[in-house]
């Protein structure tokens, strides 16, 4: 066999190599791997229309306080922003790494970024890849700061609003925030110090997800 091969010309050897690689290609599967996706546009449009694609910051705060463990919270911002502050129990996975982050298709995934745009885009990416239970945190971290960390009460608030604010205060304190009374939120918020990055007492991270962090890029 070896003797026969050594008697062949260079072109004939190359032809054999091409033939072998071509033959093995039949059994190698599709060359189009993980980066193509199909989506049912109508189904997605219906989900958006019915507003079943998001959770509110109040719901999320409630789940964290209760120590619910049936979801994974994804912070889509960059590592620096994540290290400055993130919602307790969140994992840092930038949008570009989301598909390769090892998420399973049936787990409940909640996405958030600074506002709503990045999480909406990431929501579409995951839905296109057939992830079943993907949600966005409505209005993202901005809303979390406004309603959970630094809720405010106007001076002329009604008795009903005052009662609701008392509840909100407790939640805010739980997450290390500081409720604002009597001042306009727009002026006050930029000076507010973000809470320390510690898990609030009494809450528990979802099982198997605590502080699991993905490295960015290649």
């Amino acid at each position: 066999m070896k003797a026969i091969f050594s008697h062949l010309s260079f072109n004939q050897k190359l032809a054999i190599v091409a033939g072998v690689l071509g033959f093995l290609a039949i059994f190698a599967g599709s060359p189009y791997t993980s980066n193509t996706a199909t989506m049912n546009v109508k189904e997605l449009a219906l989900l958006v229309e019915k507003e079943v694609d998001h959770v509110t910051v109040d719901e999320l705060a409630d789940w964290i306080i209760q120590g619910k463990a049936d979801y994974r919270l994804m912070d889509l911002r960059n590592e620096k922003e994540f290290n400055e502050y993130h919602i307790p129990t969140a994992e840092n996975i930038p949008v570009g790494s989301l598909i390769d982050a090892g998420l399973t298709r049936n787990e409940k995934i909640i996405l958030y970024s600074e506002g709503g745009i990045h999480s909406a885009q990431a929501w579409f990416l995951l839905k296109a890849k057939q992830y079943k239970a993907v949600y966005m945190l409505r209005d993202g971290l901005a809303e979390w700061k406004d309603r959970i960390l630094f809720p405010s009460l106007a001076e002329n608030a009604s008795a009903e609003e005052k009662a609701a604010f008392e509840k909100r205060k407790a939640v805010s304190m739980f997450f290390g925030g500081s409720p604002q009374t009597g001042t306009g939120r727009a002026q006050a918020t930029p000076q507010l110090a973000m809470p320390k990055l510690e898990m609030p007492a009494g809450s528990a991270a979802p099982a198997g997800t605590a502080k699991k962090k993905k490295k960015e890029g290649c």
Binding site: N11, A18, L21, A25, A28, G29, S30
Partner: protein
């Protein structure tokens, strides 16, 4: 890190131009080394006594196809990001025939005419001037031709999708076709070279 590098943002527009320039120089170099700077050699293809063009081009096709297939299977190239031009069936068939006639008459195709110009061939220079004139005329006539230019649009079509076969099987069939083509080309060359000598 996997390819295509530009689409994954590993370098910007400026570097991409340098890379394109380097690839262009490399492409031209190998065309020249294959003898494609000579209009006589290129035209000989159509008289069937020198099948170098066929063999070189089919070798390039098989090398690129097998290489891209296996690189993507191993995750080094993301084939879904490699550009595939959309199909406009009738205009492309007509365009191919016009290019073929020009190839036989002038002895060059657009790429090889640039190689000929780089090596100082006068016929290649005339041919390239013809190409530039053709581009100009086409551009001026485009409003008249636009309907035909955009007709029979089929979007992006690949043979495995069209024939409902696996990519691997297509790779194998093209390799078999190429190997058969090489053997056939050798036979045709011998037959017509002999005929030309008599």
């Amino acid at each position: 890190m996997n390819a295509p590098y530009f689409k994954f943002g590993y370098f910007g527009d400026e570097i991409s131009l340098i890379v394109a320039f380097a690839i262009g120089i490399g492409f031209g170099f190998f065309l020249e080394r294959a003898g494609f700077g000579s209009g006589r050699k290129l035209a000989a293809q159509f008289y069937l006594y020198d099948m170098t063009v066929f063999k070189v081009m089919f070798t390039a096709i098989v090398t690129a196809m097998v290489g891209l297939f296996w690189l993507s299977v191993f995750g080094i190239v993301d084939l879904s990001l490699v550009y595939v031009s959309p199909t406009y069936l009738v205009p492309q068939v007509v365009g191919g025939l016009i290019l073929g006639v020009g190839f036989v008459v002038g002895g060059y195709c657009p790429g090889t005419s640039c190689v000929g110009v780089a090596t100082g061939k006068y016929d290649a220079m005339i041919y390239l001037l013809g190409i530039i004139a053709g581009i100009f005329v086409f551009g001026e006539m485009f409003p008249l031709l636009e309907g035909f230019y955009k007709s029979t649009a089929m979007d992006i079509v690949t043979l495995p999708e069209l024939f409902g076969m696996s990519y691997g099987l297509l790779v194998f069939l093209v390799v078999v076709m190429a190997l058969g083509g090489f053997a056939g080309a050798e036979w045709v060359e011998k037959k017509f070279r002999k005929g030309a000598a008599q």
